[in-house]
């Protein structure tokens, strides 16, 4: 499923003193199979954009849009055309899994099993059998790296922070969405937890979810994982590049209040010392290029 967006504009509280343009003529395409990153300052419109992909934020009716002159909004997620009046939002949400910021706050059931099964039961086309539910819930809990037998009957509130987040993610991916959208999945976790979550996303990207869209503030995560990155600023897409090219623009990113990954910082520092390195800013590639400079010898 491709995501095609053209000329998307969103204004919060239109016609009131609080009016705020959250998205301003945004156009971008996310291809199937991408690990797509979105970065941007707080309030740059990232989260609003994510909510559109899931149909939680809806375009105004076509009637209203036609009134505004030359409205050219295009919004397609696979076969779902969100500019149409009767979009199958339920179907859309089945194919697009959405993990919100701090997803552990959505846990509500008495047991982990029930909570993960919630989404599966909701989205099932016909009433699933007990075995089907159990099989899918088990697989979802296991793929996020938790021990199914040990955890299934405990209350989600008794788990640790990292475990809660995994359960919440399991509750979203249990329906095997084609596109997985995550809003800062690693926020508030310790470094190890962060790393584990990113590894989990990789596993998911290779197995269950063809496309992964992730919002993050952590540039290292973005540099390591993403195929392409969109930089949001004041509701606009400022850059749309692979990390390899994006993080060369350290000055521009700094002007937008954004950081660059550690590898890019090291490259800059080396450049100051007169050593030019051309790498794609993943740790692996960086190390390889440095070693090559040294003639393959390790110190």
């Amino acid at each position: 499923m491709r995501i095609v967006v053209e000329h998307l504009t969103h204004i919060y509280n239109e016609k009131s003193p609080f009016a705020k343009k959250a998205l301003d003529d945004v156009s971008l395409t996310i291809e199937e199979g991408e690990f797509f990153g979105i970065i941007g300052h707080t309030g740059s419109g990232k989260s609003t954009f994510l909510q559109y992909i899931n149909g939680l934020m809806r375009l105004p009716s076509s009637k209203k849009r036609r009134k505004k002159k030359n409205d050219r909004t295009v919004f397609q997620v696979g076969e779902y055309d969100l500019t149409r009046k009767k979009t199958d939002y339920f179907g859309l949400r089945r194919s697009v899994g959405m993990v919100f910021q701090y997803p552990e706050s959505q846990l509500f059931a008495e047991t982990v099993f029930d909570d993960v099964a919630f989404g599966y039961k909701n989205f099932a086309e016909k009433k699933p059998t007990k075995e089907e539910i159990e099989k899918n819930v088990k697989e979802a809990i296991e793929i996020v790296g938790l021990d199914y037998e040990r955890i299934k009957n405990s209350s989600p509130l008794d788990l640790s922070g990292g475990q809660k987040r995994r359960v919440a993610i399991a509750g979203v991916i249990v329906t095997r969405p084609e596109i997985l959208v995550l809003d800062e999945p690693a926020a508030g976790l310790d470094p190890l937890g962060k790393q584990e979550i990113m590894e989990l996303l990789h596993t998911l990207h290779q197995s269950w979810c063809k496309t992964v869209v992730v919002v993050s503030h952590d540039m290292d995560e973005i540099a390591e994982n993403c195929t392409r990155v969109a930089v949001f600023s004041e509701g606009k897409v400022k850059y749309l590049l692979p990390p390899r090219e994006l993080f060369k623009k350290d000055e521009e990113l700094k002007a937008l209040g954004l950081d660059i990954p550690l590898t890019a910082k090291l490259c800059l520092e080396l450049k100051k010392q007169g050593v030019e390195i051309d790498c794609d800013f993943t740790t692996e590639d960086f190390v390889e290029k440095v070693l090559r400079l040294k003639g393959g010898k390790r110190c």
């Binding site: 939680l56 939002y89 949400r93 959405m98 706050s105 959505q106 509500f108 979203v172």
Partner: protein, 278 residues
């Protein structure tokens, strides 16, 4: 959906009504509500409505906001209206027609019933508008300041006025936060296919638990955190605290004070010497 609930939201413009002393506005609200309940006839209610209209115009609140506030009580109004319309007994004749217009089994539509229903609707709408006008034009902080100041006499009998005012201001402060939180959780559950906005009524009602429980957990957590933060800062309420903004009584307040007194007097007089009695 939730953003349509606008009760308790301050609308930031500068106007005559915004600048009034919150104490006066609170007292005026009480006076106004009393007047509405004392009014037994249309003229008195008309005077109240006229005054409220004047206040609305002076407050520069867009009419859409007011209508939105009314939408919240739409169901209540319709319900009371239907019940009264169908069952109100009375044989008074207001216009040239039989007193009982329609009768079927226990249902009885009378002229008196229609008049009474109209009166009741007008009363409810006025009540809603005047309360939301107060919250639209007064910040929560000003409101609690006014409240605390008005309750001063209770301090003499060792009533914890300050604590009460604090509870009130915290409650008001957290309405929008909890509203946001609810929206967030609703979105999260909708993304998991919960039938909050689709499906039958029973399904929707069931889906609500998935929102209420996380919301309760969150509010307990928020309360805990707030309490701890206050304790860390050694918060002690009471006599020695000074105020950043002192409340002052100005010429505006005097005008409104006179208007309010006049309204109350007028309504009381009309109660004893009705012009258009029901």
């Amino acid at each position: 959906m939730l953003k349509d609930v606008s009760f308790g939201q301050y609308y930031p413009v500068d106007s005559f009504v915004h600048r009034l002393d919150p104490r006066l506005k609170l007292v005026f609200l009480v006076v106004f509500i009393t007047a509405i309940f004392l009014a037994k006839e249309f003229l008195a209610l008309g005077i109240c409505a006229g005054l409220l209209l004047l206040a609305l115009i002076a407050s520069k609140i867009p009419i859409g906001k007011v209508v939105r506030a009314l939408r919240g009580i739409l169901f209540l109004v319709l319900f009371t209206a239907v019940i009264n319309l169908l069952f109100y007994p009375g044989d008074k004749v207001y216009w040239n027609a039989p007193a009982v217009l329609f009768e079927w089994k226990f249902i009885k539509i009378t002229q008196a019933g229609i008049m009474f229903t109209a009166f009741l609707i007008a009363r409810l709408i006025l009540l809603m508008i005047c309360t939301s006008l107060l919250t639209y034009t007064t910040t929560p902080v000003a409101l609690t300041d006014g409240f605390e100041s008005l309750m001063t006499p209770l301090k003499w009998i060792k009533f914890p006025v300050h604590a009460l005012a604090l509870v009130m201001s915290i409650a008001l402060r957290f309405i929008p936060s909890l509203m946001d939180e609810t929206q967030r959780i609703m979105n999260a559950q909708k993304a998991r296919g919960s039938s909050l906005d689709t499906g039958s009524l029973i399904k929707r009602a069931k889906a609500v638990t998935a929102v209420v429980i996380p919301l309760l957990i969150t509010s307990f957590r928020l309360g805990d955190e707030l309490g701890e933060a206050m304790e860390v800062r050694c918060y002690v309420g009471g006599n020695n605290r000074t105020k950043y903004k002192k409340l002052r009584f100005s010429w505006r307040d005097l005008i409104v004070f006179v208007l309010g007194a006049g309204l109350l007097a007028g309504v009381i007089v009309l109660r004893f010497f009705p012009v258009f009695a029901l």
